[in-house]
């Protein structure tokens, strides 16, 4: 099935070099999302079987320093807490089986405190509402075994209020269907056992229409394909059991064509500049396509399957 080859060793080097690179202007601009970066990089390493190249204690200590007294995490040390980085912190600790270093109750209270009366979630104390935050809250609380702290029924109801006539989901009610938001909504519905609330056939057709002639996937009609949608679209299709409706070989080829074979890394489209974000989504996409040598990833939790089994099912390897 796979014509080209994944330059796994190069990608590992690329990720490790990105983690050390703190003096570039680009890395300074990323300073406030350092925890997101840690999640992308470390999950990539784990999928490629190289998580052991990282010093666990160093990572855990850095993550914990980003925690705010409210229980939430900032994107870096000294930055304000936000739900986005709180999930990244929990996911990173989950990779290393270190969630127990947290006062999980406190973190869960921070997240649960962001639920609004209508069931939606704000990103932080400033009140921005988005279905992205619904997913983040639900995923985070499930990983912490504290879903009972929120009104799940209302949370699901709000997500369903963002469903459009084309079967997709937007960021708020009436917002345009977008593959990234669809992942968030379908992921949250999957985790809460509510997938029966969506029209899988209609959504599945919209999602499989996202595959363009080049083999890649776009996020909305008439937009360019981008490797990141290999994750958002593909994971959604898997969660609703419709992944066989796209051409998987062509998609795998598109992702592999976006690799920098010499220096490692994956870009949004062939021949563009590589970054950690697209490298993660490319590798995660190949994982969903069952590419040999890449660990399987869970489409809802966005963590390796063995990590999810350990946390959710209590299965230790």
């Amino acid at each position: 099935m796979f014509m080209a080859e994944l330059a796994a060793r190069k990608h590992v080097q690329f990720i490790l070099s990105k983690a050390k690179e703190k003096d570039s202007y680009e890395s300074v601009l990323m300073e406030h999302i350092r925890l997101n970066g840690a999640y992308w990089g470390l999950t990539t390493l784990d999928l490629l079987g190289k998580l052991d190249t990282v010093d666990v204690n160093e990572v855990v200590s850095e993550v914990l320093q980003c925690q705010h007294e409210s229980g939430g995490f900032g994107g870096n040390i000294g930055h304000d807490p936000h739900i986005l980085y709180t999930l990244s912190a929990v996911q990173v600790l989950a990779l290393f089986d270190k969630v127990d270093v947290l006062d999980t109750e406190k973190v869960a209270n921070y997240v649960a405190g962001l639920q609004n009366e209508d069931g939606s979630f704000s990103g932080d104390m400033w009140g921005e509402v988005d279905t992205r935050f619904s997913y983040i809250a639900i995923c985070c609380l499930a990983l912490l075994h504290h879903l009972d702290k929120i009104n799940v029924e209302k949370a699901v109801y709000y997500i369903l209020s963002c469903k459009n006539h084309d079967g997709g989901f937007g960021c708020t009610p009436g917002g345009e269907s977008h593959a990234g938001q669809i992942f968030c909504c379908v992921g949250a519905l999957a985790i809460t056992g509510s997938l029966h609330c969506i029209d899988k056939d209609l959504l599945g057709w919209w999602l499989c229409e996202r595959q363009v002639k080049a083999g890649g996937l776009n996020g909305r009609p008439e937009k360019l394909p981008d490797v990141c949608y290999s994750w958002w679209v593909l994971s959604s299709l898997i969660m609703i059991d419709r992944v066989h409706w796209i051409n998987k070989e062509k998609l795998a080829k598109f992702i592999l064509d976006c690799q920098d074979i010499e220096n490692g890394g994956i870009s949004d489209r062939p021949d563009d500049a590589c970054d950690a974000y697209h490298t993660y989504f490319g590798v995660a996409g190949l994982s969903l396509l069952e590419y040999p040598g890449v660990k399987p990833i869970d489409p809802a939790y966005a963590l390796p399957v063995d990590v999810v089994n350990r946390i959710i099912l209590g299965i230790k390897e």
Partner: protein
């Protein structure tokens, strides 16, 4: 993204350590955690600005100089949400004129408008200004959409403005104008649906259906390969399959496009949708679908729905499995 977007300002930039109003501040460097692997050599001006910002932020100093400093820090890195947060605290404490914020966000948007913080700040300001901000917010989003007509943040903000502050009156005309510029603009179709279903002035989906069907069918005939217009058409009959099946305009537009023999995917899928909901196709449909077979060797079927699925499997090969599934699900016993 950075100060380079305004070269004049960069030339005039005075280091904070040389400014008398900051002489009492002791800058605080970014703590990069234990064992930073490489010492940071940030671009000097940015680094210094952030060091002074950290000092004022740590001291929770809600002053005019703090406000000015956040403005500089934001221009260096508009993605840093903590700076925006602190700015709002300062604005509240000083009871500062919020109209300045509109200019700041517009300036930042000129550099990079795909930034969650910028839009969130803008909404916070508009919420405080109330209905007096309506016209300005509609103008601002229109301006961004004139550069990128599918800008997700701008559309979100615009939808919020309409619902929270009003200004629905010209929105349908605006959608029309954008669709005249680019009929493939899915965001404009989405906004059109938003307007006809939610505007307090139009009477809702059912009241708008007839005129919207005419408008959409014209657009479909002009560009039958347009996924967005077909989906919009179907959306007009959400939860009302019997009206969908019984409008003869729709099946006749399908037939017209099938007979033209190009870009038939959505016409075929719509025909299948109609049949699966009870539409009885005439012989004309059977003939039109039969004429679409690429070669005689292709599978044919006396049942028009199955025949349409076979055609789709060959003209839309990426989604062959979908069309196969569709055939088996709906027309197995036909």
């Amino acid at each position: 993204m950075s100060s380079s977007s305004s070269s004049d300002e960069e030339r005039r930039w005075v280091p904070l350590r040389s400014r008398p109003e900051f002489s009492d501040v002791i800058p605080v460097e970014q703590d990069d955690g234990p064992n930073p692997v490489v010492p940071i050599t940030y671009k000097e001006e940015f680094r210094e600005t952030m060091d002074y910002f950290r000092a004022l932020y740590k001291a929770d100093e809600r002053s005019l100089r703090a406000l000015h400093l956040t403005s500089e820090a934001i221009q260096f890195n508009p993605g840093n949400y903590t700076v925006w947060h602190f700015r709002r605290l300062v604005l509240e404490a000083l009871n500062h004129d919020l109209h300045d914020e509109l200019a700041l966000t517009e300036h930042i948007a000129r550099g990079n408008s795909k930034n969650y913080q910028l839009w969130h700040h803008r909404r916070w300001v508009a919420e405080k200004l109330g209905t007096s901000a309506t016209t300005e917010e509609l103008r601002f989003t229109k301006n961004i959409l004139s550069i990128d007509a599918k800008h997700y943040h701008a559309w979100s903000h615009r939808q919020w403005v309409l619902q929270a502050l009003g200004g629905w009156e010209d929105e349908l005309d605006y959608c029309q104008q954008l669709l005249e510029e680019d009929i493939f603009n899915n965001s404009a179709w989405n906004q059109r649906y938003f307007v006809i279903t939610r505007s307090p002035f139009l009477g809702g989906l059912k009241a708008m259906r007839e005129s919207e069907v005419c408008y959409t069918l014209n657009g479909i005939v002009a560009r039958p390969e347009n996924e967005s217009s077909w989906r919009y058409l179907r959306g007009l009959y959400k939860d009302d399959n019997s009206s969908w099946v019984n409008n003869p305009q729709i099946s006749s537009v399908c037939l017209e496009i099938l007979n033209a023999k190009t870009n038939c995917v959505f016409a075929l899928s719509t025909l299948l949708d109609l049949i699966s909901h009870g539409f009885q196709p005439s012989q004309e449909f059977t003939d039109a679908v039969d004429a679409l077979r690429i070669s005689d060797s292709e599978q044919r079927d006396s049942d028009v729905a199955k025949a349409a699925c076979f055609v789709l499997e060959s003209v839309d090969p990426f989604r062959a499995n979908y069309w196969q599934w569709y055939k088996n699900k709906h027309f197995q016993n036909a």
